[in-house]
Point group: C2
Chain length 561, copies 2
């Protein structure tokens, strides 16, 4: 299935807003009145793409490698591969603004075909953009406008989609990079194991994309970020193939796996990854816990993690996001149900957490053996009590699990109604986390109000480590006339606040085109020198995803938008 | 305290062999009769070092940076910094063979002084070898003979030895790189935390050295290898300082921390590291467990680790090493004690593990909260039973903890008696571990016998991961006439067997000079290209520890010895 060209995911799916009648009133109370009549994207037929710039000889040479059906020049494929799925991408797509699609889309069948295309591209001076699921939200798969005079190929790895080998003793699996999340888990679980990597994009993103961007899944507390899961890999580069041996640990120079993880296609194309997998957990127990404040919740998660009681899921919404979730809840279907809910609330929802105006919802879950889950929850309950938390049962956990991949669909509906909505994320040591949170929230809110008069910012903590955690922000406002300039001003204010507070430029969305201007500040001039040194060695002609990640061509530091 | 110039550690210490009267008979039964008269190293006065090649202007320029007392040109310091502590090093030192000492030894006081020395060295074309504790066993700190026409400086970081900051909330500590293990733990434990990193060299090695070589401590199962502990760092390079932000996780390109960890001084000099620390465990419980075979022991450890029951210590000796340990035990002091021991053995030591001729000793330990340790041991006991293991109590655990840093002293005594003794290590996925073990053991045994007629090889598994483990080998034979050629033949056979079996070229000793010839095979030509790309960017004039790690000068691939 090809996903929506103008929005998120399955074209036949919509976010089930009819179950949340309080959503629009809640949103309008936050950001102001919205137009009643939705606006729709332009029709695909209205979008005229520039002609592909491949000569007949170029086409023949490529077809010799990937076969006739492996080279697509049609408008549909080129449009589909022109952008990722960021707010900025969808704004442009809905308007039909696609001035720089890739000249062609390739569908190689083997790592060898990938390698041969790179050899050809390097020889002919073409640029190549690796394409997995195309869900980048940082401009990772688009042709950078300032480099658009070059011929660009999009290399779609959809056909490298097999689980090649499961080592049930070592608990590793060798898997082709183009496999989508659901196919990967289906194949692994059929053999009794799981990767346990569930980013929000899970249904439409690929293993290779996760590795290239340093992705984090929603159970990262237990299974790690993707960089922790990689035991070996294969990368095709213009300087030849790189194969990193599958090993549990080594002392043979800087870890080449970690040199590839996060390289965002700028060194080469990941064709195969050997990942660490796990026995399918016998039990999962995910519950809702109400905390009297965000700060108490942060402290609770820190205590659990530093004690070694790592939850599989620990997702703490701040008060604004908790209010949003409450507004999204299905109202009682009838008077009896309403009465029962009120009664339950009166009986159960007592104590500081329920009464606090700054209450925050935490989704906390353990998974593993029956015994482990019971023991972990036993100790967790004590820590929750110490933090004046209120266990509100498994309904919020079940609801979150059921709907966790659906929110991106809501964005499409909000765009229909003229709402700017986007997310960004960071990470920091525990000791700086609350200051960083406040700094970012204020800077983002101020930026929203400067342009749109009003706006809404909410946040959750969703990945916790021994020494710190990530913060994930969502912001919304009414679109103003120049929607991209509006977005860019907010993005700049938020990102400047992140760096001022010592946060990571990105925790799991990666750098792409959108964050590249801040990379000199994030990793320093010497850090960029080092990354460019690898680039120079593996891709001397600068074919691989130019303009992304680092300003290796001196041009990616210009402002985006 | 300056360590022995010709051997291991504290000059006033010897391995207490008088407590092990069965040691020499056991060893001679294994490798043949040894000379009764020990040979001693040459006296220091007999060693004539070549004159330092610094001009008066060079000296002045260096003294302007590090002060008069920061520049040492005397024979004692230059000798002390000429080699690491490998068998090959000690053989040469004992003979007084020091043809290529560094021209000078520097003792910078600040990261800025380190940076300025590198700037000067880069401008004048000098080579710089970073020096921490000088305990490298792979030739990491010596002047490579084939590059000895260059002027070499040894940069000793002994004066950068402070714990700068402990963040008790984030559980991180910012520490200067030159600090020795005991000083580091003393300073941290005074603030209630521990790093938990105890390599065998702990007493004489430094934080910077651990990071530069990807060191592993004896509690790595719980606390991780050093690469897992690094949250941020500072590196002085000839292209300028690199500061990696302290963060729990990030998605901003390849992890620059991991690009520095394992770089073995070839990119620059690590001046500061922010590490993840831990609350001091309330309880530690280390016991001996006898297994009926090495294979059953390996399976036991794998089961524990993959179930998430990570022991702090899991050190499984093969049968040969178990026999060695038995021979090292203090005999009963009198007839009554002997009778009691026999009685205890008869009562306790029953079952397949005690009776098996291939029995193996496992040192298994948990540490953490009282509750965790009890719960972990409870489940571990079940797994031990399933593997026909026999819990032999805490005496072997206590003995191992007491003596764990002492074995290197025994090597000096063995060298006195003409014994070649060395160690090497590797790692592999669980599914390949037993085949790798057998392959290495056979290749090493054969190589020992080819030259010396007889020899002894023993092994333990000491670092266990979800997907594999490390193997640590010790081999011994009588020295033959050309001791270095003898050693080199065994080293080559063992290393070839490691690579043939898919093992890591090194798990925690690093590459240095000794393993560099195998690096093209280990990481591939493209892998070396990538590493050299970083080198080229950070150290364009090739000043930093040339000849080590990678064959960036095209010369490190020549055989060592």
């Amino acid at each position: 299935m090809q996903s929506k060209w103008w929005g998120w995911g399955d074209p036949s799916k919509r976010f089930p807003l009819e179950q949340s009648p309080r959503f629009w009133p809640f949103l309008e109370a936050q950001i102001g009145p919205l137009a009643e009549q939705p606006t729709r994207p332009v029709s695909r037929e209205e979008i005229a793409l520039p002609e592909p710039r491949l000569t007949p000889d170029d086409r023949t040479a490529l077809q010799m490698i990937v076969g006739r059906e492996g080279l697509a020049l049609d408008a549909s494929e080129r449009l589909h591969h022109a952008y990722g799925k960021s707010y900025r991408d969808l704004v442009r797509l809905r308007r039909g603004e696609v001035p720089h699609p890739p000249d062609a889309v390739l569908f190689p069948r083997t790592p060898d075909e990938v390698q041969r295309v790179l050899d050809l591209a390097s020889a002919r001076g073409w640029a190549v953009i690796p394409f997995g699921g195309g869900t980048s939200v940082v401009g990772g798969v688009e042709v950078p406008p300032h480099l658009a005079d070059r011929l660009f190929l999009s290399m779609d790895l959809a056909r490298l989609n097999r689980v090649l080998e499961v080592d049930a003793v070592s608990l590793t699996a060798r898997i082709e990079a183009g496999i989508l999340g659901p196919d990967l888990e289906a194949a692994l679980q059929a053999q009794g194991v799981t990767l346990g990597h569930y980013p929000q994009s899970f249904e439409f993103s690929t293993l290779g994309g996760w590795v290239a961007t340093r992705s984090a899944g929603q159970q990262s507390n237990k299974y790690g970020k993707i960089e922790d899961m990689v035991a070996g890999l294969k990368l095709a580069t213009p300087s030849g193939p790189l194969a990193v041996k599958t090993l549990p640990a080594r002392a043979t120079g800087p870890d080449l796996n970690q040199l590839v993880v996060g390289s965002e296609g700028t060194f080469g194309i990941i064709t195969e990854v050997t990942v660490r997998v796990h026995a399918i957990p016998a039990r999962r127990d995910v519950r809702g816990v109400l905390l009297p404040s965000f700060e108490r919740g942060v402290d609770l998660i820190r205590t659990l993690v530093q004690e070694g009681l790592k939850p599989a899921v620990a997702r703490l919404s701040d008060t604004a996001e908790t209010d949003f979730q409450m507004a999204m809840r299905k109202p009682p279907a009838n008077a009896i149900q309403a009465m029962l809910e009120t009664l339950a609330k009166k009986t159960l929802m007592r104590g500081p957490a329920a009464a606090s105006p700054s209450r925050c919802m935490l989704i906390l879950g353990y998974e593993g053996s029956q015994m482990d889950v019971v023991a972990s929850w036993e100790r967790a309950r004590e820590v929750i009590r110490e933090h004046e938390g209120l266990n509100v049962g498994s309904a919020p956990g079940a609801s979150w699990l059921r709907h966790r991949f659906e929110l991106p669909y809501l964005r499409d509906t909000m765009l229909d109604h003229g709402v700017m909505v986007d997310t960004f994320e960071t990470s920091a040591p525990w000791s700086r986390l609350m200051d960083l949170y406040e700094g970012i929230r204020k800077a983002t809110q101020d930026a929203l109000e400067r342009d749109a008069g009003r706006g809404s910012v909410m946040c959750h903590l969703s990945h916790a480590y021994h020494d710190g955690a990530s913060l994930y922000f969502t912001f919304a406002a009414r679109q103003t006339e120049d929607a991209l300039a509006q977005w860019h001003a907010v993005k700049r204010a938020a990102t400047d606040a992140i760096l001022a507070g010592g946060g990571a430029l990105s925790h799991h969305h990666a750098v792409g085109l959108d964050h590249a201007p801040w990379m000199p500040q994030e990793v320093g001039e010497t850090g960029l020198l080092a990354l460019n040194g690898i680039k120079q060695a593996l891709d001397p002609n600068g074919c691989m995803n130019p303009g992304k990640l680092m300003a290796h061509d001196g041009a990616a530091t210009r402002p985006v938008g």
